[in-house]
Amino acid sequence: MADAIVELVNVNKLYGQNRVVRDMNLSVKEGEFLTLLGSSGCGKTTTLRMIAGFEVPTSGTIYVEGEAVDEKEPFERNVNTVFQSYALFPHKTVYDNIAYGLRMKKVPKKEIYDRVEQMMDLVQLGGFEGRYPAQLSGGQKQRVAIARALINKPRVLLLDEPLGALDLKLRKQMQLELKRLQKKLNITFIYVTHDQEEALTMSDRIAVMHDGIIDQIGTAGDIYEHPATKFVATFIGETNAFDGTVKASEGNLINVGIEVGDICGMGTDFAAGELITVSVRPEKVKYALLPVPGFSLVGIVRDYIYVGSVVKCIADLANEQEVKQEIKLERLAGQELPKIGEKVFLYWNPEDAVLIHNRDELFLQAIENVRLA
């Protein structure tokens, strides 16, 4: 790919018997803000460290700017890292920390001075030159770590959960600042986090990782509106996930039978008898007091949670599965909400549901089919 500044081809990483990264293929576009998103242990940090050079892939190749970098040590790569613990040198001043990379490249002193001052202004740390890391707050340390990495003008900046240790308000602030910096300097950012809100806010593209593989890669909108796997659907935002079997399909309208009834969705490429997951976001769920054709979901209202302009309704189905519904208060327009304990019929616009092939069960069913044949 001509556009790809970092490329992973069939990369595997094993620790003993444990496959932490499996057959990963990833193309990072130049100038993009790509986030590797997943919960701990999914392999996102390991992937980042392999790009930086701190881990060596067990098999597969990593290309940076078109060159295979496997034989290169971290100090030979044109890639810089912002560490989770900041990793500031405790015995060096802020100035010396930031200047370190330039010193290693033997940049002349005068130029170092100019560039450090410039970078410190950019991250709003002017005046802190003589301070030591121990004298800085978390947010300030964060900015030193970023400045120290960026000053080397890397083609790619790797960030390993850099905002994890900051409090909420500071984190939100830094998210915007990082985004601003990235746009301004036009550097490719590869960002690792487990915080989906962070990923959705900052990224051009998100790679959702799960158990060593990328489940889905796309823009925030893609991932939210059209999750490709059950994991992505449930990991990103809140959703109601119903596992069931395809009963019938008329054109694009798919009827699905789940444990407690029937529901509908829109999709192509679904055969009858197939195992399927239907994902519906709470804001798309509707309720009625009379049965709705195509749906036979009956729920008992259990609780209401008022969150400002929106009320969350939790209803229980016959099999004790929760259905979460988000109702905008303005839409009610004077209508009364069903009381707690009352029976309601739940439904949605079929096109608002996302239909996902249930892969694991699909595999099991395939085996079953082979056995029966």
Partner: protein, 277 residues
């Protein structure tokens, strides 16, 4: 009211107790120092004959004693340097890498710390006798390095527990190769631990009696010279030298202590700011 007096009397008792312990600890030192000013000239130099500096003057002429002190200093300096280098490399290496035999080396390091020194002394004596190394300065230095290394390593290990390995990764990420990283980052950050270990090594070497006793051959170190004098009656010039060493040690302790305080600190060097354009 009763509670208050109880607390008060507890406090007084505690202070008295601590003072007694400190008195006990420093008593023989006081005795030694006082006797160094004893204007006595007859053995066994114990009865007080008045205040005098004469023994300090005699000390300057006592070449045997001064030589033994010089020996001790040379041995201590050499042992400290060698054991600190070997110990620092070893501590860092054992922290970062895993390899077969690590457990064995670890166990060997505990031996000089736990086993009575006399066993180390005689075992090294038999080693030197067997490979026909004449006992003297060399064997003393070799022996001292041996018992210093574990203490240096344990001291540094305590520091390593709080050491963030990712700063080394950061250094390599920014373009420094491994040896550059070691000298620019690892060593300076571990410096307090290394210094502490070196100081400990130096102290242990200066004070060593038992191990030196067996491997010294004819060479006299200062503690061994003292041991010799004790058998014949310690003349106060030995006291004088001891008093001087004591004062020197205390000063050294305070100097290094204040150094530690300065580094922790609020030192903010002024950096000339370029004029804003």
């Amino acid at each position: 009211m009763r509670r208050k007096t109880k607390k008060m009397s507890q406090k007084v008792l505690s202070i008295v107790f601590c003072v007694c312990i400190y008195a006990f600890l420093f008593l023989p030192i006081v005795v030694i120092v006082i006797n160094s000013f004893n204007a006595t000239t007859s053995k066994p130099y114990l009865s007080w004959k008045g205040f005098s500096f004469m023994w300090y003057v005699k000390l300057l002429k006592n070449s045997v004693l001064l030589d033994s002190f010089a020996n001790t200093m040379i041995i201590a300096a050499c042992s400290t340097v060698v054991s600190t280098i070997i110990g620092t490399l070893g501590a860092v290496g054992m922290y970062k890498y895993t390899f077969r035999g690590k457990g064995i080396i670890d166990a060997l390091l505990y031996i000089p710390v736990v086993i009575p020194e006399i066993v180390l002394g005689i075992s090294m004596l038999t080693l030197f006798a067997n490979i026909h190394i004449p006992r003297g300065m060399l064997t003393l230095i070799l022996a001292h390095v041996t018992f210093c290394i574990p203490f240096v390593i344990f001291n540094i290990r305590a520091r390593l527990a709080e050491y963030d390995l990712s700063i080394e990764e950061a250094s390599m990420d920014l373009g420094a190769n491994r040896s550059r990283t070691f000298f620019e980052i690892t060593l300076p950050v571990l410096a307090p631990g290394i210094a502490g270990g070196a100081l400990l090594a130096f102290t242990l070497s200066i004070d060593d009696v038992i191990i030196s006793y067996f491997v010294n051959g004819q060479t006299k170190t200062y503690p061994l010279k003292v041991m010799e004098s004790i058998k014949s009656g310690v003349s106060p010039d030995v006291n004088a030298l001891s008093a001087l060493i004591l004062v020197g040690t205390i000063l050294a302790v305070f100097v290094t202590q204040s150094n530690l305080f300065r580094n922790k600190g609020k030192k903010i060097p002024e950096v000339k700011k370029h004029e804003k354009k």
